[in-house]
């Protein structure tokens, strides 16, 4: 997952990269900045680079799954990511690696993976994201202290949505 530390890639950057590629004689160009990945090719049959398995580990579901994950049919509202609250200065964020249902604990009734105030390491599992009963644990990727848990247990989160705010260890 991407974190607040990474330089976000903007649409303007993508344009510049496309421009560079157009000016070149290259047949293919592959750029990866953190989570951002751009693959350009003059071969229409090209299928892109081999998938880097850098994103969330595709762990299987724990034996006892959390309760049914389908929220009630809610009235459509504006999508979350674009309108979300700003991240306080100096904080890092853990974002959703894909759309799915956010769970704080490995199973219903079990203690949450992390609580506010807890110190975490890059390898710490901080939550689950479920897609059709496939539960993928999300690792922090960064070290620090959990300051806020933005996503709500059992709710749908979108790709790139801020899940957890972390104060970096320094």
């Amino acid at each position: 997952m991407s974190t607040g530390k990474q330089t976000p890639v903007k649409a303007g950057d993508i344009e510049s990269l496309i421009e560079i590629f157009k000016q070149s004689d290259w047949d293919e160009m592959h750029v990866q900045v953190g989570d951002f990945e751009l693959f350009l090719s003059n071969d229409p049959q090209a299928t892109g680079p081999a998938r880097a398995s850098a994103a969330a580990p595709a762990a299987l579901a724990p034996a006892a799954a959390p309760a049914a994950a389908t929220p009630a049919a809610a009235k459509p509202a504006a999508a979350a990511p674009t309108g979300e609250a700003p991240v306080p200065d100096g904080m890092l964020v853990i974002r959703a690696p894909n759309l799915g249902t956010f769970y704080r604990a490995p199973k219903p009734g079990a203690p949450a993976y992390v609580e506010v105030g807890q110190v975490i390491e890059p390898d710490t599992e901080v939550c689950l994201i479920e897609v059709m009963k496939l539960f993928a644990p999300v690792r922090a990727g960064i070290a620090g202290t959990v300051r806020e848990i933005r996503a709500r247990d059992g709710q749908m989160v979108e790709f790139d949505q801020v899940l957890i705010i972390v104060e970096p260890a320094d």
């Binding site: 749908m156 979108e158 790709f159």
Partner: protein
Amino acid sequence: MAISRVLSVNRGEIAARVVHAAQALGIEAVQAVSVADRDSMAARDADRTVVLGPAQSRLSYLDPKLLVHTALATGCDALHPGYGFLSERAALAELCAEHGITFIGPRAETIAALGDKLEAKAIARAAGVPLVPGTDRINDVAMAQAAAEELGYPVLIKASAGGGGRGMFIARSPEDIAAGFDKASNEAREAFGDDTMYMETYVENARHVEVQVFGDGKGHVVHFGERDCSIQRRYQKVFEESPCAAMPDALRSQLHTAATALVASLNYQNAGTVEFLYDVDRQAIYFIEVNARIQVEHPVSEQVTGFDLVQLQFRIAGGEPLLLTQAQIPVRGHAIECRLNAEDPYHDFRPSPGRITHWGPPRGAGVRLDSHCYDGYLVPPFYDSMIGKLIITAATREACVERLAEALDRCEIGGLTTNLPLLRYIARHPDFMHNHLNTRWLEKTGLPAFGAHQE
């Protein structure tokens, strides 16, 4: 049963088309996008937009579970797959059915059956639909000559075990068979260890024709005329038109009957297209396959029949009866679609993504543009290069071609390299104007001439 909220899981122009068609019917549209399509027209116009995952298709548009999860999590009761991506993946239709989501398309088992080439041909044969004529095992020259006499020359003689052109030849006369048969069968034995040979009709002069059909899932089927999509490059259609002006009415009526008989035999549900090879020299049609989805070129059928086929998809999927009889779907006038792509026709069609600095499509009588682009839109580099479809309608093919050429002249797109020069060239080519085309025309004649033309 009526649909109240649909998840649109495709992108580009078809996503915008699906969103608008749903909204016109009072159906709420939720658009699922990759992060690269957050600013797309479908995302802007939908009642809600959710971001599935990163730009790569396999982590967003190509993940059936992610799509069905999204449909459930956003309270959708239906899912429209568009074309391409997962639109003909039986697994997606199946997963939808399991979770009570109406898949806007045929039933999963229909998609699976038609997706299997051999099974599709067996279905066609059982429904009395003509396939490319051929023989069983051919033992020797004499038997081959007798068979060819029956099929009519030219014929294609092939090794059963064959591939890559080895053990295969075209015969236009008994002499060709005498000269080639033993050589080919020896070649086959050497290459594959098997010299079993068979024979097929060879279609020298073929058009690609297809019939737009709709079924109610209970055996009632109607068609919306045929399309001629003979101008292709690497099996990608570039121009599509309706009707197939080159086809005599008697054959057209056989074509329609064959298409509807085939899908009626499946109790076909929703929209589909039955594709045929039209053998111009023999004046015969041969089944190719059924596409179990709405197609890119559906607008030409809409233009000549007056029906909105995407809205009809929603209505049928929502449980409305198909009240139309064939007599109520007259074909009127002529329509031609061409595909606008962000690609460089002077440099082997390499994709040319980027930001559209000026979006100035033509307007006017009989000019329709189906597109997701707008001034300032960034065409992302991750997906196919189609940026729109220009659909021209007129009373006759002749008037339609003239209007098309004019409309293409007035089409202004800034910031990107597009295939407009090629489209303009084809629209004014005498072969196109006089409808002297077949499926090899673009690669054998059109493109080389276009290359010469630009010097």
